[in-house]
Symmetry: C2
Subunit: 399 residues, 2 copies
């Protein structure tokens, strides 16, 4: 039969990243496109041991239905971890989700009506744009620079549009890798309080800082949490342990968390409890903090390697800021160059990346590209950058 | 701060079942409320062995991000299982979901707009009502009897309301345990084709039949699938393997499945791949069909035990139909009795069930109750029914 689809899903573009991932599956393509963590660093033995402990200690009960809010012992441990970073929340102010992606979706579903406005950085995480589009929101980008959202612009747009949510990735943004300055962090919080607009702080990469000594305070930790606070915070184990376990969480106002639980009951009852129990055991018997140090060091080195490979090309009009953490390099290509056309040329040379346009809510800057430096390493990274350079050079010669 | 919530989520009632589950957690309450499978029958050793195989054969790659549509080898195996039941679908006509609950949510999100109408059985699965409410649908119940929806009523309401979806649980309905007759199955399909309204066939209990010889054809298998067919079918491993693995699936028109994948990208990227890979290995090295036979026999005996316990009370005005499968007995209590008031009395005696009112989209029949017979067994079941009887008898004496 001829199915009719909801107008929101009709409008929804499939994620360029995932479409490219599909395209490149099984082929001899070197991909800098996905946001894939380094597979060789996954703590496989620790995860394996953790599942064994789950079955040994939990027995058959470990396979039963669980609470919508998530496995309580895991929430208790996570609250302690959060507290060590200055983020104080009780277990009933936390909900476990299928990746932090689901937290973004649930927060959107409980707070927003179709047609409502959300402010975002420019550019911003493309899968959050998909969530907002799926819920029929109007997305308004706020001028942003290397220190974060420009606060005066945010205020102007708050007054103009009366948004119901501000979505930000203040630490190692995706795609830009940028870190907000303390001034901007406090500035946005102040706006949020003054105008009564909640902030969704998405922090998937916060742990992946290259400078062990750096200390980037989350908006959540800076917020005055009397009356539940203005910040809803979400993060995930996908980058620090493994994505397959699909375990993220959100913390915030007790009332919002309980509304999210109601929505989650309808959405999927609860997330995998095998995964949650595994992470609970992992946190008890494995030093996740030591493991995170290993990841930080490795990713920092890979970022340096990619930077050097790019720098050695001697392009005068290809620019990037050195990221302080996260998983991506954000390139500004020569003006007038359309990175989507470049991608088509690159794929013919068996290398892939993500054209920057997908990350803009409006008026994309087309001469931008996101390159992941965590998944592809060593000689393979060098080969990939060399193919990328070949494609770009031909392109530049032709233009 | 004072958060404002979307009107749909404000209206959403928390599931009575899960609220009672929460209330009874850790207490000495015998609960017939939850839809919990028998824990002692979970194939723990097989699941444990399957996870070991996943880590051994998949290595670190088993912890990486996966496809939104789900783990392909599992989809391939599942398509073969479906085919053996006369349900023919290709892997790209199937999507893996976080329980079949998520399939209901995704289908709703891609097919329906707020204000659209969905027809349901009366009574019907309460968590599907929650999904429909969360999406702001209008739910219209169709008169139903022991053979299923009354087709002439369905047709009248289709003409009157122009629904965009018909949601049914034709085999061992929840809460009633009813099985639709072949005539009604074909009747509804015919209506669906004539009026161009898709059917969502929810089949979580289809495998749990007490008569090994019985053969209940799904609507999906009876449908003419030229042009993708009119039936979207969903089922789950929650009742046959274990709920903790949170793995369900949907099959249907390739176009609908691909739209569901787009929505799922936004909703949570993908479901747990550890769970999906575990189930894939389980299907390869464990006879799920033999295991299902064990469950069928055990649940059939438990159903008989509960029936006998109730029958032995000698009530003349407490009625039920003997279920042919599934997990629930559906009681009709004396007229005028409000089962929610009875529940409050019952909980004081440390026994719980679900009042029937929650399962009605409109005008509830309040003198109804759903009792689960799979989770509580033997002397504990006898003690529970005896407490229930005590509460009911006091109630009857007082009324």
């Amino acid at each position: 039969m001829e199915y009719r689809f909801s107008s929101n899903v009709e409008r929804l573009q499939s994620s360029a990243v995932r479409d490219i991932l599909k395209l490149t599956q099984g082929k001899e393509i070197i991909s800098f496109a996905g946001g894939l963590p380094a597979e060789e660093l996954f703590p496989l033995d620790a995860v394996k041991e953790a599942t064994e402990r789950v079955f040994r200690t939990g027995g058959k009960n470990s396979l039963q239905y669980g609470l919508t809010e998530g496995f309580l012992p895991l929430r208790e441990q996570l609250c302690q971890r959060m507290a060590r970073k200055g983020m104080r929340a009780e277990p009933d102010e936390m909900i476990m989700t299928t990746g932090s992606q689901q937290a973004i979706d649930l927060i959107t579903r409980v707070l927003m009506e179709p047609g409502d406005i959300v402010l975002v950085e420019n550019p911003t995480y493309l899968a959050s744009l998909q969530v907002f589009n799926l819920s029929g929101l109007r997305v308004v980008p706020v001028e942003s620079d290397k220190d974060g959202m420009v606060i005066s612009e945010a205020e102007r747009l708050i007054k103009q549009h009366k948004p119901r949510l501000i979505y930000v990735v203040p630490t190692f943004g995706n795609p830009t890798g940028r870190v907000w300055s303390m001034e901007r962090r406090k500035g946005l919080l102040e706006l949020s309080h003054r105008h009564g607009v909640p902030i969704l702080e998405d922090d998937p990469y916060g742990d992946i800082q290259f400078d062990e000594q750096a200390n980037y305070s989350t908006l959540f930790s800076l917020d005055d949490r009397t009356n539940g606070g203005h910040v809803l915070y979400t993060s995930t184990f996908s980058k620090t342990v493994a994505p397959a376990l699909r375990t993220g969480w959100a913390i915030g106002s007790r009332k919002v968390i309980s509304m999210m639980a109601k929505a989650k009951q309808a959405a999927d009852l609860h997330s995998s409890t095998l995964d949650q129990q595994t992470l609970d055991q992992l946190l008890r018997h494995f030093s996740l903090d030591d493991h995170i140090k290993v990841i930080r060091r490795a990713y920092g080195e890979r970022m340096q390697q990619m930077q050097q490979l790019l720098a050695s090309q001697g392009w005068s009009d290809v620019k990037w800021e050195q990221p302080k953490g996260g998983m991506f390099l954000w390139l500004e290509l020569p003006e007038g160059l359309d990175a989507e056309a470049l991608l088509r040329a690159a794929v013919k040379k068996n290398v892939a990346f993500v054209p920057g346009a997908s990350f803009y809510a409006a008026e994309p800057q087309r001469n931008t590209a996101r390159l992941n430096f965590t998944y592809t390493t060593g000689e393979r990274m060098a080969a990939g950058i060399s193919r990328f350079a070949e494609a770009l050079n031909e392109f530049l010669a032709r233009c």
